[in-house]
Amino acid sequence: MAARRRLVSALLVFLCASSVFSGAESQEATLTGGHRAAAVDDPPTDTERAEQAAEQPAVEERRWEATEVEEATPDEAAGEKQDTSAPGTAAPSSAPQPKDDFQEELVVRPLHSGDIYASFQFRTLWETDFTRENKVSHYRLFPKSLGQVISKFSVRELHISFTQGYWRTMQWGQPFLPSPPGAELWVWFQDSVTDVDGTWKELTNVLSGIFCASLNFIDSTNTVQPSASFKPLGIGNEATDHRFLRYATLPREIVCTENLTPWKKLLPCGSKAGLAVLLKSEKLFHSSFHSQAVHIRPVCEDRQCKTTSWELRQTLNVVFDLYTSGQGKREWSLFKMFSRTLTEACPLASSSKIYIDVTDNPQGEQFELSPATALLSQAVVLGDRRTFSVYDLTQQITFGSVRSLNLLIRWKSTEGDMLRPLLHAERYVAGYGLQTGEIHTLMYNNHPYRSFPVLLLDSVPWYLRLYIHTLTVTSKGKDNKPSYIHYQPSKDRLRPHLLEMLVQLPPNSVTEVTVQFERALLKWTEYTPDPNHGFYVGSSVISSLVPSIVAMDTNSTLKRPLFSSFFPCKEESSFFVRIYTEPLLVNLPTPDFSMPYNVICLTCTVVAVGYGSLYNLLTRSFQIEEPSPGLAKRIANIIRKMRGVPPL
């Protein structure tokens, strides 16, 4: 314990000192070219441990190469211009690197609720150009199916995610990679695409086949073109004409094994080796949150962006529930979570690591981690400096004498306070009855003294008719006028409503956005098979640059763990966050589905009655007729007729 305490203090001291020099150190490190250099060559002895730990961040940093120069900024809230100038000087990474590179990584973060969050990231980088004339035909690590999709449909960026369950921000904090429940797909096409809608339609159908998902249900009624919320994450986002962007969600999509299997097939090692052996569907889908995603984007290979490469990032996030899968015992292990242990890294991977978040556990008072590792790493992620224990799977030593790694986390205490997420949002439908309703979106700014702007994107299906003039935005009981509103009204059976606005959230406040809507009655064939279950409305997307507590690492040329490098940041004081609200489940009035024949018959009868009466009126000719004679007279006439006398 004393050793650990020394370790941490030494580490803190080192950080203060090294933060100034880190840039220089990293350059120096890259110049040595030892990117595959082992972090630890020998098992550290007890006496050396403290010093080694103190060295560790530097060692770790040294290992992060300057491969990425400047990733694109995500959509900034204010839509500011992005400076593409890469900071720092040139870092020639001209070492004879293979043209493609594969990294894998698993981050485990014990959550305060007792749940555990595991995030897999697999990154394939390939220095090639799918858009050039001659077709790329030789594939090594990059999956051919996706490569062909990119070149055929002139895709510039593709982001697709399948999620089961809803990420509970207030209990779990921010995820490394946010995703809405159901399926989400957003694609930037190259400027050369002329018929974007047609290409989009084809692309969704192809992806539907690749991922075994119902993406073919994406059509014009659930596709929008956000004007500000989804900026390209890769390079070349200066020309952001949102005509080339398509965004769609399928909130009802159910994610299961048949989506996981094709996703795993895209990995170079499949599920045969490396971290992917842990991905067993019987465990993964027995969890409270599961999200798998594929992100394809072009990134810079060096600082000047002379060469670009394509990045394929496959991520899988899963939250295991304490009570359903932990059987009530506050104890986690890889075997318990995934029913597998690790025996080797993927042989094709240049790096293969497991990070365990131990920030809240510096002294081991929260939980106990075994086997213990001496490797520590620090990363600034989501506006917070986190400390991780690192297990490098490329080192045989990690697996120990049993040749298998089974990480074990044993909880010791249940207390502990989670840092409240600075930005948090929720949404619900208010009102009763099936005629009208009101959508409430609540956005919480938990920052004590900073206000920041957020971009809210709402895509509402056409069958909820939004009354945009009833839109109100209030914070702290006062009207908060959005500085930018982009509203595209819906067209029946053609396109959804799109509402985007930029709202400034005052510090420590709740901002409420309400808008009223009317529910439409649909044709009986347009209802889902279970109409009384309701209709899903996709999540609102809230994108924001949130003020950071610690200085963010703007130097994206540094090699960082994958989980901290997805959203590039361009200023130290804030970091990019995207959060998704709950999808809504809205009931619509339904006709009686058993009645079509009856309704047709009855209505036609009524129309026929109307027609008949008019026809009667129009065609009848009128005669004067004598009032009919009384009975006596008629009898008399009959008698007179028999007598041969003229009637009366």
């Binding site: 099936l434 009204p489 067209k491 029946d492 439409a520 008019l614």
Partner: protein, 440 residues
């Protein structure tokens, strides 16, 4: 005569103003019987200036809303007042003509004895215009429409002005108002037949297809009508800068994409329709409005004002998004033919059904939409009943027609008979007519 009308207007405006101030406004504005997607103020208010779909109000109305958004209540009350006054003046003018005709006929002794009861006394006729205005202004349906700010009130005002200008014999204004009404919703197009008949009757142009004057008049009217329609359409184009509103508004009226429940026949029928029969039935249903114009014009060519009434009734039944405001307009004309009420069939039943339906609409709507204890069939049943009720109204007219025809035939049959029998009551009527003429 102006005093009672002023009083009536004051009462009507007071009632509306009181309702505007009450908490019922919101409730009424959401009633599907009162507002349809085509007439909902709520939709117009939310409409963006750039017409990019999702809005089914005509551009001129949207611009009107933009300017009058703060004076909406006054505008809608004014529209009702204009309608009432226009109807009042139109009916007064029409009655004068009827009176003159009757007078000539009486003097020429052309009426048979047994149709004495059909001849209106001047005293009756004196109050008819006021009754018409009252039927319109104090009709609960109209009041609801006004309080809900349904643009149906504006459409009614335009149609009333069209009727007034037609009856006054102003060809140009009649064409202009007709084009305005057509521009608002396609259906008033069928009113051009009665307008033509009336104007020709007034200018003593025989309705004869072989006559040049007949065709020349039709060409004139069509020119004025199409010209003003063209101006309106172009004006809308220049206001919006695109033609998007044409498919958006008129496509909406004709293809019935919005199946929000209303009092008409379309919504449930097309919600339950099999997809491949949809177009066919759409045509069948839409043709109903336009088709009846031809036989009705042939049959009623002597009575164009009655034809207007019939057309309004047919439109209010067969239009794709009817509201109670449309029914209120044709119901306002009922006093004009009050001397024929003895020929109405099932008058008690019909009025009971009307009352029952009006009460049951909100009840069953609540049960379906809010309580969840009924389903759509309940509401649909009431709309069916309501529409069946509307047809007997027509059937009453059948009776009326029969009587009129009888009158004419009776003329021929019993002309000689008539000469001898000049009953005292008949003589009295003639006398009162004479007196009235002096007054006039």
């Amino acid at each position: 005569m102006a005093a009672p009308l002023t009083l009536l207007l004051l009462v009507a405006v007071t009632v509306r103003a009181a309702l505007f101030r009450s908490c019922l406004t919101e409730l009424i504005a959401e009633r599907v019987e009162v507002v349809s997607p085509l007439t909902a103020w709520k939709r117009g208010k939310g409409a963006p200036a750039a017409f990019s779909g999702g809005v089914v109000l005509t551009p001129l109305i949207i611009y009107l809303f933009h300017f009058l958004v703060d004076y909406a209540e006054v505008t809608f009350m004014l529209a009702d007042v204009i309608t009432a006054v226009a109807l009042y003046m139109a009916v007064a003018d029409y009655n004068k003509q009827v009176f003159r005709k009757q007078k000539y006929a009486l003097e020429a002794d052309r009426y048979p004895l047994d149709c004495l009861e059909l001849i209106r006394s001047p005293k009756e006729m004196y109050y008819i215009p006021l009754k018409v205005a009252m039927f319109y202004l104090l009709n609960p349906f109209t009041i609801l429409c006004c309080v809900a700010k349904s643009t149906c009130g504006l459409n009614n005002a335009i149609i009333a002005l069209f009727i007034l200008t037609t009856i006054k014999g102003s060809v140009l204004l009649s064409a202009i108002f007709l084009s305005l009404a057509t521009y608002q919703s396609i259906y008033p197009l069928t009113l051009c037949a009665p307008a033509l008949l009336y104007l020709m009757q007034r200018q003593y142009i025989p309705v004869n297809f072989r006559r040049f004057s007949f065709w020349w008049f039709i060409a004139q009217y069509a020119f004025m009508y199409l010209g003003s329609l063209f101006v309106l359409v172009c004006l809308s184009f220049f206001l919006l800068g695109s033609w998007d509103y044409l498919p958006s508004v008129y496509g909406f009226i004709l293809s019935v994409p919005d199946l929000t429940p209303n009092i008409g026949l379309f919504w449930y029928f097309f919600a339950e329709m099999f997809e491949h029969f949809r177009l066919f039935f759409l045509c069948v249903f839409q043709i109903n409005v336009f088709f009846y114009t031809i036989p009705l014009s042939v049959k009623l060519k002597e009575h164009p004002v009655f034809l207007i009434f019939m057309q309004l009734a047919v439109i209010s039944i067969f239009k794709s998004y009817p509201t109670v405001g449309d029914i209120a307009l044709y119901m306002a004309f009922i006093p004009v033919w009050n001397h024929l009420h003895r020929f109405l069939r099932n008058i008690f039943l019909v009025s009971c059904v009307l009352l029952a339906c009006s009460a049951l609409f909100p009840v069953l709507w609540h049960l379906w939409i809010y309580a969840g204890s009924a389903n759509s069939n309940f509401y649909y049943a009431i709309t069916l009943l309501f529409n069946v009720r509307n047809f007997p109204c027509n059937r009453t007219n059948t009776k009326l027609r029969r009587r009129r025809k009888e009158t004419r035939e009776a003329e021929a049959v019993s002309r000689t008979e008539r000469r001898h029998a000049s009953g005292t009551s008949f003589r009295f009527l003639q006398l009162s007519y004479a007196k009235q003429t002096e007054l006039h």
